[in-house]
Subunit: 101 residues, 2 copies
DNA sequence: TGGTCAATTGGCATAATAACCAAACGACAG
DNA sequence: CTGTCGTTTGGTTATTATGCCAATTGACCA
């Protein structure tokens, strides 16, 4: 395993890590249907405004979402619409896990 | 967001979290090419035997791999061959992130 | 200029992860 | 039975993640 492979693995893991949280997964699901301001996301989740803001920062740093400040609000949207596509594969993992246990 | 949705989000996040580590991502990549015993994986990664074993436990608990004890060795294999399919989508995230920065 | 609303930042407490070493365990060989 | 090999478990420590509260920033309105 050379340095380049190591680097690729690290960056891939970062993207996955950014998605690996229920609240962030939910947000991404919402954003799939269109942009949302932070306050809309706070309403849906039942957690602190600041916590939502930090989750969004994680997604932004991973390159998954982008933000757009318009007036007093900040709107977030998906940079990669396909991002949730593979969730079906994740669900396949879960299905399979259930069957064999 | 009802309890069922909450539950789905949590289990999905668990699968993603299990994959969200460079060493585990590498192992899954290896297992895509066929089963491997723990010692083979230890050789490829440069980390402790016990650490590898624990990583494999994480993958197993997430339903991603299964183990098969044969003689003195334990062989791990993928339960979901498609598991790495979506890595192309992850890479798309990375590509896009690079372009716009 | 003040006030207010939307959002981010800093700080802190708590929990979860990751890695190592040492010890234990199960299968097999002698 | 004893020793050894491959693996897992337990324990410890360092690092990172999460979530709340309080304080700050920025845009807009009166």
């Amino acid at each position: 395993m050379d340095n380049q492979e190591r680097h690729i693995l690290r960056t891939r893991a970062n993207v996955l890590k950014a998605l690996a949280h229920p609240a962030r997964l939910w947000m991404v699901g919402q954003l799939e249907r269109g942009e949302r301001c932070v306050c809309e996301l706070v309403e849906g989740l039942d957690i602190d405004f600041s916590t939502v803001s930090k989750h969004l920062l994680v997604l932004k740093n991973a390159g998954i979402v982008e933000d757009d400040k318009r007036g007093k609000q900040v709107f977030y949207s998906l940079r990669i619409p396909c991002v949730m596509n593979f969730m079906h594969c994740v669900d396949a993992v879960l299905e399979n896990a259930k069957l064999e246990t």
